[in-house]
């Protein structure tokens, strides 16, 4: 029992230190404007306070001289007849792999007939991995031809500097190279549009911006 008392005090102390550290880190992440240099922080505000879902904040190079991003592979799961994630942000050259991870024999057929990208990946049986390569910027929906609630969206950007916000609020885009950029927000609700902002970042500066989403 005696040994328990100092141990308990040490535990409480550790918990307090943890809490202080957590608060400090949260403070750095949440509070715009005090993160380290060449990180971009800010806030998205929507006219009328509307709680729009799935906003994509991104930085587009102001000049089209940026080198092409290294290709990446994105994975989408399908368990429970849902795409997870159902919003995929990619760049041209990236591949998207669709894994049929259903826990029983359920077939899928993933397709998109959008103007952005036409594809039909055929029969996707349990355990299969089907792949599509994205070759340009734009966006389009994809579906399963078998299941009516299976719907997702691909957004292809010519930048890796983006953040997906579940609702309007604060964001941080870390490690932005110096240069001239245009900050934009993709809004899926067609009643609204974003107002882009031109920004210039150097090695030693950071920016704190406010992006407005207004009604058309």
């Amino acid at each position: 029992m005696k040994n328990d008392i100092p141990f308990s005090h040490a535990g409480v102390l550790l918990m307090r230190i943890n809490r202080i550290l957590f608060t400090f880190v949260s403070f750095l992440i949440v509070l715009p404007g005090i993160v380290e240099a060449n990180h971009l922080s800010g806030k998205v505000e929507v006219e009328g306070g509307k709680k729009l879902k799935n906003l994509i904040v991104y930085l587009e190079p102001a000049e089209s001289l940026q080198k092409k991003a290294d290709p990446r592979v994105h994975k989408v799961l399908q368990k429970g007849r849902r795409y997870n994630p159902d919003l995929i942000v990619v760049s041209p050259g990236d591949k998207i792999q669709f894994l049929n991870d259903e826990d029983r024999e359920i077939d899928h057929n993933i397709y998109s007939l959008s103007k952005f990208k036409n594809f039909d990946l055929g029969l996707g049986e349990r355990g299969s991995v089907l792949e599509v390569e994205i070759d340009k910027i734009g966006s389009g929906n994809f579906y399963c031809s078998v299941h009516r609630l299976m719907e997702g969206r691909i957004v292809s950007l010519n930048t890796r500097y983006f953040a997906v916000l579940e609702s309007p609020g604060n964001f941080i885009l870390p490690n932005i190279p110096p240069g001239n950029w245009v900050a934009k927000v993709i809004v899926f609700h067609k009643r609204y549009k974003s107002i882009p902002i031109n920004i210039s970042l150097s090695d030693t500066t950071h920016k704190n911006i406010e992006l407005k989403v207004v009604k058309k």
């Binding site: 359920i106 029969l123 009516r148």
Partner: protein
């Protein structure tokens, strides 16, 4: 009793088959059947297998989680007539949960009326790409609001207050649309001779476009099946 049921069967068979419309002198017509079906890979598996959704050989068992292609009700056959100035009337009904149609094919110049059967005042809008927008005046419960469609393209009708109220619109200049269920016969009669474009559309699948020349005194039969693979093939046609 047997005679009556036999007669009914004969009538059903007769009405199910595509029948050519009567020819009007100096005019032409187009007619056929519009339907939708599952992807060919799913149908191929159904022809070999029997378990799960593959109920009997060659058949599928559609659950409520599936797209039931043989029972789709919002298939549109559209004629693009460059001389049409619109003016067709469309009515959509909004409840607390949804719109009466999830998709609608319309022509610019058509009037779109919304009846608000929900419990709150709603402000509807029509939006297209970029800045394209038309806004309805707010409509109180039990009342109607309408506007004449000016926007062209793939549009979305929604409301400021309730995001579950959405209808996808296919809007084209000179579009005259017909809504059908899968397996229905459609017909466009009394068409002046000339070149026309026909669109076959289901919102989740997209469009099939056909260019046809209508001649005087001629009926053209054009049957169209909408499925993922067939629509993709049609897009890849030269």
């Amino acid at each position: 009793m047997i005679k009556t049921s036999t007669l009914l069967l004969i009538i059903t068979c007769m009405t199910a088959c595509s029948s050519a419309p009567e020819i009007t002198p100096g005019k032409g017509a187009i007619y056929g059947t519009i339907s939708a079906e599952s992807h060919k890979a799913i149908l191929a598996k159904a022809s070999k297998k029997k378990n799960g959704i593959y109920g009997s050989v060659g058949g599928l068992i559609f659950t409520n989680q599936m797209v039931n292609y043989p029972k789709l009700k919002e298939l549109f056959v559209c004629l693009l007539d460059p001389s049409s100035k619109g003016g067709n009337e469309h009515l959509l009904i909004a409840t607390n949960d949804n719109m009466s149609l999830s998709s609608l094919a319309v022509g610019t110049g058509d009037r779109l009326t919304i009846q608000n059967d929900s419990s709150e005042t709603l402000t509807f809008f029509l939006a297209g790409k970029e800045e394209d927008i038309q806004i309805y005046s707010p409509v109180k419960p039990g009342e109607r609001s309408s506007l004449v469609l000016e926007l062209e393209g793939d549009l979305e009708l929604g409301s400021d207050e309730n995001e579950s109220l959405q209808t996808i619109l296919l809007s084209r200049r000179g579009l005259i649309g017909q809504q059908h269920s899968s397996g229905d016969q459609y017909v466009f009669e009394n068409l002046h001779p000339g070149q026309y474009k026909f669109l076959f559309w289901y919102w989740r699948l997209g469009l099939v476009e056909k260019n046809l020349i209508i001649k005087a005194g001629e009926n053209i039969e054009l049957n169209q099946v909408l499925s993922v693979d067939k629509i993709l093939e049609s897009k890849n046609e030269p």
